[in-house]
Amino acid sequence: MIPEIGHFALILALALAACQAVLPLLGAHRDDAALMSVARYATFGHFLFVAISFVCLTIAFLSDDFSVLYVANHSQLALPTQYKISAVWSAHEGSLLMWILLLAGWTAAVAQFRSDMPDKLVARVIGVLGLLSIGFLLFALLTSNPFDRLIPAAMDGGDLNPLLQDPGLAIHPPLLYVGYVGFSVAFAFAIAAMLSGDLDENWARWTRPWTVVAWLFLTMGIALGSWWAYYELGWGGWWFWDPVENASFMPWLMGTALIHSLAVTERRGLFKSWTLLLAISTFSLSLLGTFLVRSGIIVSVHAFATDPTRGFFILAFLAVVVIGALALYAWRAPALDSTAGFNAASRETFLLLNNVLLVVATTLVLLGTLAPLIVEMLNGGKISIGPPWFEVAFLIPMIPLVFLMGFGMHTAWRKQNEGVWFKVLKIPAIAAIVIGVVLPLLFYGRVSLMLVVGCTAAVWVVATALVQPYRSWRRKDGAAGITRSALGMSIAHLGMGLFVLGATIVSAFGIESDRAMRIGETLEVADLQFQLRELREVQGPNYTAIEAVVEVRDGAEFIATVRPQKRQYLVQKNWMTEAGIHPTWNKDLFIALGDQLGDGSWSVRIQYKPMIRFLWIGAFVMALGGMVSVSDRRYRKSKK
């Protein structure tokens, strides 16, 4: 009964989404206030019914209703409750339902927190979001209904993929999707502006906070995904340039460009048509990412079994959305183009450079991701592009970007006084060069060009990001000296600096060693002693495991006991490596258990990862910066 309610609620949601799409757009076109006022209620109703549907699916999981095909395939009686909940979005049908729920949620939020936006803009934004909802609801109902029945019901389910039975992966997809879906709001604002022909500084002020919130969730989602891959896949790497990762990274890069371009549009009324194009591209890349992941056309380590008919649907949807938006752009954007110029030494120039470099970076990642597809089509054989290419290609635009970032933050709009630059940036510049060379030498006793470039860039960004908050803090009137918006920018850039520092150090000084180890034996890795004390059997709720107890010492000093496991899940029977990690702020000790080698010894992978936490801390600081900046007062005006 409950699954039928869920299915029915989804159909009702489709009907309401249709009202939400058609009536407000028509109302805005005809200037009919009554039609526009429908938007709000249709939106809330739409959200309510999608939420009911989502709750129904969750109940089906919690009550082990194996008469629902999706539940039978992705859950099991003994699955712990928290994973029964996260199993809801563990595969295609459920994650699509979650996507729909989030889209409805974002739309309801726009309707509710409309700030001082005019009715017509709200109506158009909601209408465009309604059109997108129709597409996704049709996708779910026609090709991927999560409520399909399984008659007769299975006795027990096929279990959730053990890799997904992990807290990191329970929250990673929702965060990622909040980000992905959130860019649809920026997209809707762009379409609304083109429909009406009104694009001014206020439009940018209304669009900006929504875009930043989407961006900050995507930032956290990607960071969590990277963290999960690090400890759960048992490889110890944190980024693999895998197509699935690239799929989430490209909208992030484009979204970052969009945030910066929106700043120029808001403050100076410039870059208008460019901002529109970025808003369309960012959301299009989100859709492209979904297409690549779900259609299986690109070979990926992350790939799960996929379905080409779904690929066709997403592709058709993608084509309609992107071609429609770009045709509208070709038609309407010329009229919106800005006419004012700006000085070469101005913040506008730096933000332009930021945009150019980020777009170059996105293009390169896209090229690398699609290259295997293009080569195969040209009958060049089946190829794959290795991570080293991405690393080199990506760094080319990123290194100048990071150095320019420090200047950009301290450059005035319109025209910069060059003397002020010298005064403000002298100390950070000296600090960056000195620390950039000394830090690797002092702590790790080795230095190379890339290392100096990386460390200098990181310290430069951290130092320049701190200048403005520091100066306003030292002044007597305290925090009043800096706006939330500027503070948020400083924090986000600080996060970027921390990230660069972590990435540089862990790439240069990380140690990875595959060894054989038997009980009582001590191995030396990174000047630390690892002793295998014992192997024991451990019983989990739905798995059994062999656990190695490894004691780590630094000479006489005890550091930690690390317990890597090899788990066998009871239903699916496959073995899973559960790495043992001893994390501290400046390094991780990582041990993964391999196989039995026959004479009582085991293969183990021991890794020493200095400053690896800075990667994820940096990303979360970036997200925090976004949160601070959207709390700025000017985004909270209410309608007069």
Binding site: V356, I383, A393, A516, T577, D599, S603
Partner: protein, 157 residues
């Protein structure tokens, strides 16, 4: 600056950026582009000799040999027509086992041993890399009833 100049500057910079990056990385692109070569082609001698490539197939039953207490490992991979010996040193991925599909990166040493530097695991046991599936599918047809052992049709180069 005039808007027109700005625009030209931005577009110019972007084009230069992509061109420089693409130019600088073209060599790296060549080096990092790894071809997938079917086992039968490897046995026939048709593989890039000076560079890394990928192979894939099924791990032959009872072919895994390891020296006790060592991380060195040897096994055979088959596309159901030909078999290729592979050597690897290191920790194996979780889903590596006899009879399972496998993808390996590496290069040929001599004419009959593939030195793998990377063995790939998949998230999902029921899933086989499409290129491996395609290669197996192609060769299964060549065979009729030869179960196990090398098929006589396997031609060496």
């Amino acid at each position: 600056m005039k808007p027109r100049q700005q625009r030209m500057l931005a577009v110019g910079l972007a084009v230069v950026g992509v061109a420089v990056a693409a130019g600088l990385t073209l060599r790296a692109f060549e080096e990092n582009m790894m071809f997938f070569v079917e086992i039968s082609d490897v046995i026939a001698g048709e593989y890039p000799s000076e560079r890394n490539f990928r192979i894939g197939g099924l791990v032959v039953a009872d072919s895994i040999q390891r020296e006790e207490g060592s991380l060195d490992l040897r096994f055979s991979v088959t596309d159901t027509r030909c078999e290729l010996d592979v050597s690897y040193t290191g920790v194996l991925p979780d889903l590596f086992r006899e009879g399972q599909g496998v993808v390996a990166h590496g290069r040929m040493a001599d004419n009959d041993l593939f030195i793998a530097d990377k063995i790939l695991a998949k998230h999902d046991e029921n899933y086989m890399a499409p290129e491996v599936a395609e290669s197996l599918g192609k060769h299964v047809q060549d065979q009729t009833a030869s179960l196990g052992g090398r098929s006589s049709e396997c031609e060496t180069g």
